[in-house]
């Protein structure tokens, strides 16, 4: 096994090509932009770009798509600070103190804090991935089907426990996603399931249409329903560079936030939102003057922003090492892997080292770009915020329609888009979380396959999942998670964090 330095060198040699630098830049720029724009997030954007990346080199595709994801965390904080309208849900917490700072004329400082915090967090998180992922992957190579089955079950259960909203509903969404994933030709028996005679469904439902409908189109309908005709005035941005005192005050929260984000980002269903909430709660709890929070405390920006950026990067770890998506974006990334014919799982580090290390190296480069991009371009982002939504959403619809069509060149998928868009809105209205559905949709076929193989291994004995230690442990954790859910403990904890 090559040394760490060798692997990093391999990664940088792939990431530093002119082409890949370009894709990295394009990705983070686009990501920041959609983070700034209301109503457009990384999930629909990445879903739309997937068909286009089909023709690209896998490394370039991933570099760009990843850049969009963590770039969006930067962009979302900009709107949160300037107009108290978080562009991304993970920036909700940043708005609390960030917007107050802006109102007090310290918008520049808030933005700088967010950018610096995010950069430091991103750098450290990338290092964490580089260190942790190979170890985790070699451990995972010991896995076989029963362990994978239990791991995926645990992943889905965790995504339910950490999602907001009713547990029962999220569970039902998971099962629905698994059922939708079963649509198509069953590889083992050749039977085409639930295809209703449509040849277009032999390969399953288009997950671009599903993701775009559930997250993109439904979001449009929701936004139009809530539309207001007031325009948004942005706070003026003047002094950007923080003073020495500011640096001293933001450093500990940044480091703490990074730690929180690195850990929570790995958990399925956790991710950026949970990390930023937890970091804020942490800062407030250990602060000597907690009453400053909510009134423009710099720690209230530094901690959460670092946390959400760190989390958005470490959330790549389960996807890259175990093939387990911890959030909808990672589910799409797995889809991208499949498009390029790469089997997700721990073998990626062995079979595609350039992809893995190139991606890691590009993450560091991307964070660097974002630091450079965000501060000088504040003016442009501020202008972008004022784009009225009724001019924006036709753009999203055009991209959705064309993007979905381009995937398989069939109008059928556009009809799927209408169906999923409609149900996406229905689910949102019924307060059913779409994320667990998307995760389970992607995992469903794998889950079934591992179940089948496990039962073959055990000659039909379902106890195999409990007989094997790793698998039993994973299932036990899943059971504990469900039990603690039912007892409401987690929900109470989250509610207190939300209240503060």
């Amino acid at each position: 096994m090559a040394s760490f330095a060798d692997q990093l060198a391999l990664g940088f040699s792939a990431a530093l090509t002119f082409t890949n630098l370009g894709y990295c830049f394009a990705g983070v720029l686009l990501g920041t932009m959609i983070g700034v724009l209301p109503g457009l997030g990384p999930v629909p954007t990445i879903a739309l770009l997937l068909p286009i990346t089909f023709g690209l080199d896998p490394i370039s595709s991933f570099i760009m798509l990843a850049g969009i994801f963590y770039g969006a965390q930067y962009g979302g904080s900009t709107t949160a600070i300037l107009i108290n309208l978080p562009g991304e849900s993970s920036s909700v917490i940043t708005a609390l103190d960030g917007y107050r700072m802006a109102r007090d004329g310290r918008a520049g400082l808030a933005l700088a804090t967010a950018a610096i915090g995010s950069f430091v967090a991103g750098t450290i998180a990338t290092l964490v991935i580089a260190l942790v992922a190979p170890a985790l992957a070699s451990f995972a190579l010991l896995f076989s089907s029963p362990e994978y089955f239990s791991l995926m079950t645990l992943g889905l259960v965790l995504s339910v426990t950490l999602a907001s909203g009713s547990v029962l509903r999220s569970l039902a969404m998971v099962v629905t996603g698994l059922l939708l994933g079963a649509v198509g030709t069953d590889v083992n028996s050749g039977v085409s399931r639930f295809t209703l005679g449509f040849g277009e469904l032999y390969d399953g439902l288009s997950f671009v249409a599903l993701a775009m409908g559930l997250f993109g189109i439904s979001e449009i309908i929701l936004n139009l329903q809530r539309e207001t005709t007031t325009s948004r005035a942005t706070a003026p941005v003047n002094r950007i560079l923080p003073s020495l005192g500011d640096f001293k005050r933001m450093t500990p929260p940044i480091l703490r936030g990074t730690l929180v984000g690195c850990v929570l980002g790995v958990l399925p269903g956790g991710g950026a939102i949970l990390s930023s909430f937890a970091a804020y709660a942490l800062e407030k709890r250990i602060s000597k003057n907690p009453e400053r929070f909510g009134k423009g405390a710099i720690e209230g920006v530094a901690g959460p922003e670092s946390a959400n950026n760190a989390a958005s990067q470490t959330s790549f770890i389960p996807m890259l090492t175990l093939g387990l998506p911890s959030n909808p974006v990672m589910a799409l990334m797995i889809g991208a892997l499949i498009i390029h014919g790469i089997q997700p799982g721990p073998k990626i580090l062995i079979e595609q080292p350039t992809l893995f290390w190139g991606l890691i190296a590009s993450m560091w480069i991307g964070n660097f770009f974002l630091l450079l991009l965000n501060l000088p371009l504040i003016g442009i982002w501020a202008r972008l915020i004022t784009v009225p939504y009724h001019l924006l959403f036709p753009l999203i619809i055009s991209l959705a329609c064309i993007g979905v069509y381009a995937m398989a060149n069939t109008v059928f998928d556009i009809y799927l888009l209408t169906i999923f868009g409609f149900f996406g809105y229905v689910f949102a209205k019924l307060r059913c979380e779409p994320a667990p559905l998307l995760l389970s949709f992607i995992l469903g076929p794998f889950l079934e396959e591992h179940l089948r193989r496990s039962l073959l291994l055990s000659r039909g004995d379902p106890m195999i999942f409990l007989d094997r230690p790793i698998s039993a442990t994973l299932l036990a954790v899943a059971a504990i998670a469900i039990v603690s859910l039912v007892s409401g403990a987690i929900r109470r904890g989250r509610a207190t964090i939300l209240q503060e």
């Binding site: 001019l391 959403f393 009809y415 209408t418 307060r431 059913c432």
Partner: protein
């Protein structure tokens, strides 16, 4: 366990069934039933040799159970009734726009399907102004044509088979 009436009920609504739970429950029951019926003919197999119907049937039964529990909870739990409306107007226009695009694309081509769809979608906004929407629709069509059809070479018909 609440027994007497609360003296101060919020003014927006009285205690009622949790409509969201009931509807959600019914929806999940419907989905579960659909998959159960649809997958009835697939061989179930045994645990040793799972057939194509094994996984889906288990899942649909689970979904029926979950849907039932959710609906039941909706009847048991009392919540404040909120006026949360279903924006049919917006839904019809936005979904209709996408469907319109699907219908027109092959026959009429991008140059007609996209502006038509975008115009319909634009009417969903409270800030709809016909000329502005029309100009935007044309602008976006031109951009999409340049980027997707010409630059990226996607096989999208410009003017479709009706011409």
């Amino acid at each position: 366990m609440r027994s007497e009436k609360q003296p101060e009920l919020p003014t927006s609504g009285q205690s009622a069934f949790d409509r969201h739970d009931i509807v959600a429950g019914i929806l999940f029951i419907a989905i579960g039933a659909a998959f159960l019926v649809g997958g009835w003919s697939y061989a179930f197999g045994a645990t040793l040799n799972m057939g194509p119907g094994f996984f889906p049937r288990l899942l649909s039964i689970a979904l029926l159970g979950l849907g039932g529990m959710i609906a039941l909870r909706g009847f048991v739990r009392r919540v404040e009734s909120t006026d949360d409306e279903f924006a049919w107007g917006v839904v019809v226009r936005v979904i209709g726009a996408v469907a319109l695009f699907a219908v027109l694309l092959r026959g009429a081509g991008l140059y007609i399907a996209l502006p038509a769809a975008l115009l319909l979608a634009a009417t969903a906004s409270a800030r709809f102004r016909p000329w502005e929407a029309g100009a935007l629709a044309i602008f976006l069509t031109v951009c999409c044509d340049l980027i997707f059809r010409r630059a990226l070479g996607m096989p999208i018909p410009a003017l479709g088979s009706w011409f």
